[in-house]
Amino acid sequence: MSATEATIQLNVNGENKTVFVPPMKRLLDVLREDLSLTGTKEGCGEGECGSCSVRMNGDLVNSCLVPVLQANGAELETVEGLASDGVLHPLQQAFLLCGGAQCGICTPGMLMAAKHLLAHNPHPNIAEIREGLAGNLCRCTGFMRIFESVLSAATSNAATSQQETHAR
């Protein structure tokens, strides 16, 4: 059975995009291959590591588990949308300052999960940060520096004001 391709419309980081792809193609692969947004990483490919985390209509999802047809018409946020005009997002700045990134494979997913957490809970405690990032695995940092990065971003005024702007 060969399937016909479908026209899929996506709003990615505020820009409208149209792709013509098989509807079962994974959102992850559409982002990376069709839209050249390679910031979103594939780790396990089975929804267990969180490396491919993006936000879809304000929800955190593993893009490796989303057939692109189910994202048709959706607003998507990827790691490429965090920095604007050459200025790092407060979360990215905090990861840099606190040593929250080492090899970098988990980092885009960590950032998007952290952004999602702060959008709903601008001042999380460490237990809430642990739950918010529980689906994102890191094999370098031992996690503590990542949790500290998120805590640092959440306590900075810059992060707070930006999160309030983005909160749903």
């Binding site: 059975m1 016909t4 098989p22 929804g47 267990e48 969180g50 929800d59 588990l65 047809l69 918010g132």
Partner: protein, 292 residues
Amino acid sequence: MRGNAAQHELIAPGSLPAVLDLLSSAPGEWTPIAGGTELMVAFAAGRLTASRLVSLWGIEELRFITTTPGELVIGGGSTFSDLRACAAVAADFPLLDKSASWIGSIANQTRATVGGNLVNGSPAADSSPALLVYDAEIELISTRGKRRLPYREFHTGYKQNAMTADELLYAVHLPRRFAQHHQYLRKVGTRRAMAISKVALGATTLIKNGAINEIRAAAASLAPFPARLFKTEAVLAGKSPSTGVIQAARQALLAEAQPIDDIRSNAHYRKSVGANLLEEFLLGLNREIETR
């Protein structure tokens, strides 16, 4: 071998009647896919046998949680995030709220649906022990109409269930009569998030005059499908959870359980831990009776 998207058809008719018409027109031809947290894993690994899939994502008729005086009704398309956000679930069915928090992680809870969890029928399904001990009913829908059956009769074998090929899981009905019950649920897995159960055990019981007047116990990963522990329940019915009764109940569970060895655990460990969870539940029950 990786899955090839071009080898699978996926359509999104967009409404419940349109999906039901499609399923009815060619029973068995189309495989429903909701949040994809199971089927997309199989797809990526090249294990997805279904060649034609129909999307249930975004069908609002399946995504609802309503309460009536007697029931909480959860649409099959409700996600576990929906459950966790619903105050009525937490208030009346705390074990279900707890089990929803066990599903993978936030990103999985956002997409995984109650209907998908049950229809997939994993022996380890997180929501199943809670739904079994709350005596849930399943409502199925097709172009022929709706029908209801007790959840305890839904799973019929490993990944087998009572649905026909033209049916969808429309809703789960929960009777709102457990406020006075002592309730217990515990999952044992490798870690708290992103870990499939090695074993999980739930129970609800009503105490009268110091004895177990009504009891339901159910387990995940102790049988080919999530199931009530009827023989263990029978040992406990009418009894006070004394040391002797607890030992008899443990023996009943060990005799009744049929776990397997697999990648996550082995049968011996699962039986031992299942019996320990039952004992933990009964010791807690005993303390509650003594403090009354």
